[in-house]
Amino acid sequence: MEDERKNRAAEDSDEEETTRIGSDSLASLNIEQAPALGKLGGSGLGVQLMADADEFDAIVKVLEEGYKPDYVECRAEIAPCLITARVRKGDLAALEADPKVVSVEASTRLPSSDREDD
């Protein structure tokens, strides 16, 4: 644990140089139809990037109290119609098609709410 924290601190102090890309070197946007993931809630960005991930943690809202989709790794029952789960990319289609699943929200990061510059 301590080593990991030291490594994090070391990484934190690294100054990484960024090579900028000029506007004239940028291609136009490649526009495509979004995948049909209507039950994935939250930020459109987070939803899409999670959809690209192999697996992710999520909060799943279900229609019936106590229902736990057996094709995902359910972890905790937060409320009668709300569970947390580990979702694999391959599970997304099943969640989308499951009539007892209302919505799926990918985990989002939450930093502490202090103000280090004051």
Binding site: S23, G42, G44, L45, R109, P111, D118
Partner: protein, 602 residues
């Protein structure tokens, strides 16, 4: 070699210019004996003492004397606000200096939560019989403020979500350290090594862990630092949050303390399960900027459900610290018209950037994205994605324009910009394809290493991502060290996107001195709504303890009504809800008295 022109505020002492330049290049100033990270000690010549003291950016130091019609004073100022302070009409000059005055007493006295400040007939024994759950980073179980007089721990459990799993780990992960294990560790030469868990040592980037500081404000007993927190007899359950490796993590989050929303919900679930029928309040001093801001995110829905399922439960959440960061914009798009949203990515920003735009389901917008040099990269319609990848297939720019979020039915646009893209002012041009409502709100995701901002000055609706729920008590911050108790310059503003009045209350969160991890008895100063929320959590613990002592159960709506009714005014002026103070500054005496009155009325 040529000199490089820099964009640093020039009308200021050259030493400050150098600090600002370093800050602009992403380097943080380390803490010193008298200043925190990112802060500078100053001596100022000012025209008006009152105007100087009224600035929430200023941590007041000493009055050194008079100089003509002016006053010489010392203080500390966040580097981020140095230009603002220097340009204040009252400031004639600004130079480096030092001076400090430590006290957590301000929190206790200002909120009337000290033993001698509560009602004489109060029976709540300063929080005895109540669990205060802290979900935060770095629990110093060896700090004397968290020990009983006999040297044993006041902590029932620590669930370290980052620890190695055991067969009985909650929800299959992390490591629970029981009271007996903590007590055994406290008898060892190195308790942190013995337990296999401890707060991170101080570093150039952090002086004292956030979690120990927060915990002390809510429940510290002052045995080490001589100043007790708000509910010093409460019992503690601490959860150290973990996070999973999510796809868009980049250098901007390396080395930072952060959890994630799934683990947060599991932490709250764990605390309430462990508390059982014991009254419990959970403090969450975490948050970020994104999200629908209408209470419909599933993390907020989960918190609401857990609070509602049983009487004598509450969750208190920090409002967030984004008021001055330019992270929110709002406007209207007419059908057939367009609205330009300027998004400023600073020239020295070396981090990824993210924006979310939420608008009504009955409307349809197109988003055109234009680079700082005026090049249009394309237009993304509702239900489409747009991306530009680098030669290796990694996204440089990614935009998802999603139809009808399943939780609130609204449309949402998410924009991710990698740090290699050009800096300057990007234009997000919203075209109104159909616009029955036309209104939109946009937020820039929190980025402590290089916050981008919107053009314009709209600091409303800057509450944190988990601070818009229906049952949570959300807390803003003010400075209790100043006679006018001014709002902290950073304390976020309501209302929620759907117009509800949050934050509910405010409390001292500015320059709060509380337990310094790994010091045994010391204190350290921190600021943030993070420091205001635990004061309210402590007061809620006093309320729950009083109710328990009087034999009454109080549901969430009653707890919220007590908090609302016990909030003092002036400031805020008048009687109406204030978007940053909320309904007022929470008063523990009045809150406990309200419980007594309720019991007598039954």
């Amino acid at each position: 070699m040529q000199l490089e022109a820099t964009q640093v505020f020039a009308s200021i002492d050259p030493r400050f210019q150098r600090m600002l330049d370093r800050r602009g290049r992403g380097l943080s100033s380390p803490y010193t004996v008298s200043t925190n990270v990112g802060e500078v000690a100053v001596v100022a010549k000012v025209r008006s003492l009152a105007a100087w003291r009224a600035m929430s950016e200023v941590q007041e130091g000493a009055l050194l004397g008079e100089s003509g019609d002016c006053h010489l004073v010392t203080g500390r100022v966040p580097l981020a606000r140095l230009e603002h302070v220097r340009e204040a009409p009252t400031v004639v000059s600004l130079k480096p200096a030092q001076k400090l005055r430590p006290t957590l007493l301000q929190t206790v006295e200002e909120t009337f939560s000290g033993a001698d400040l509560l009602p004489d007939e109060a029976r709540g024994q300063r929080g005895a019989g109540v669990i205060v759950g802290i979900v935060d980073f770095g629990c110093d179980f060896a700090h004397r403020n968290l020990l009983n007089p006999d040297g044993t721990t006041r902590i029932r459990q620590i669930w370290d979500q980052t620890g190695s799993a055991t067969p009985d780990s909650p929800f299959g992960y992390g490591r629970v350290h029981s009271r007996s294990e903590i007590n055994a560790a406290l008898r060892a030469t190195d308790p942190y090594l013995e337990l296999g868990y401890g707060p991170r040592p101080d570093s150039a980037a952090q002086k004292g862990t956030h979690g120990t500081h927060v915990m002390d404000i809510a429940v510290g007993n002052g045995l080490g630092s001589a100043t007790a927190g708000v509910a010093p007899a409460a019992e503690i359950i601490f959860v150290e949050p973990a996070t999973t490796d999510i796809a868009w993590q980049g250098p901007g989050v390396v080395g930072s303390d952060f959890g994630d929303s799934v683990q947060l919900l599991e932490a709250v679930r764990y605390i309430f399960e462990q508390a059982g029928d014991t009254p419990a309040v959970v403090n969450l001093s975490l948050g970020t900027n994104g999200g629908p801001h209408d209470g419909t995110s599933l993390v907020e829905e989960g918190i609401d459900a857990m609070v509602r399922e049983q009487d004598n439960r509450a969750v208190v959440i920090a409002a967030s610290n984004s008021f001055a960061d330019g992270i929110h914009a709002a406007g209207n798009v007419a059908e057939g018209g367009a609205h330009d949203l300027g998004w400023i990515v600073p020239h020295d920003d070396r981090t990824d950037n993210e924006v979310e735009i939420w608008y009504s389901a009955g409307d349809e917008f197109d988003l055109e994205i234009v680079t700082p040099d005026g090049t249009s990269l394309g237009t993304i319609g509702l239900g489409q994605n747009g991306r530009i990848n680098d030669d290796n297939g990694a996204p440089l720019l990614f935009i998802a324009h999603r139809r009808q979020d399943p939780n609130n039915g609204d449309n949402v646009i998410g924009i991710f910009m990698e740090d290699r893209l050009p800096t300057g002012t990007w234009t997000l041009r919203l075209h109104g394809v159909s616009a029955a409502n036309g209104a939109f709100h946009a937020w820039i995701e929190r980025d402590d290493r290089g916050q981008s901002g919107f053009v314009g000055d709209d600091s409303t609706h800057t509450l944190g991502s988990i601070s818009c729920g229906g049952e949570s008590i959300v807390v803003g911050s003010y400075d209790a060290h100043k006679s006018g108790v001014p709002l902290s310059w950073f304390s976020s503003s309501g209302p929620t996107r759907d117009g509800r009045q949050k934050p509910e209350v405010s409390a001292p969160g500015h320059s709060v001195w509380a337990a310094h991890s790994r010091s045994g008895t010391g204190v350290v100063r921190k600021s943030g709504t993070s420091m205001a929320a635990p004061a309210v959590s402590g007061i809620v613990a006093l309320v729950l303890a009083e109710a328990a002592a009087l034999g009454i159960d109080i549901p969430s709506e009653t707890i919220r009504a007590i908090v609302a009714g016990a909030s003092r005014r002036n400031p805020p002026a008048g009687g109406a809800w204030h978007p940053r103070y909320g309904l007022g500054r929470l008063d523990a005496n009045a809150a406990v008295q309200d419980v007594i009155d309720i019991a007598e009325s039954l």
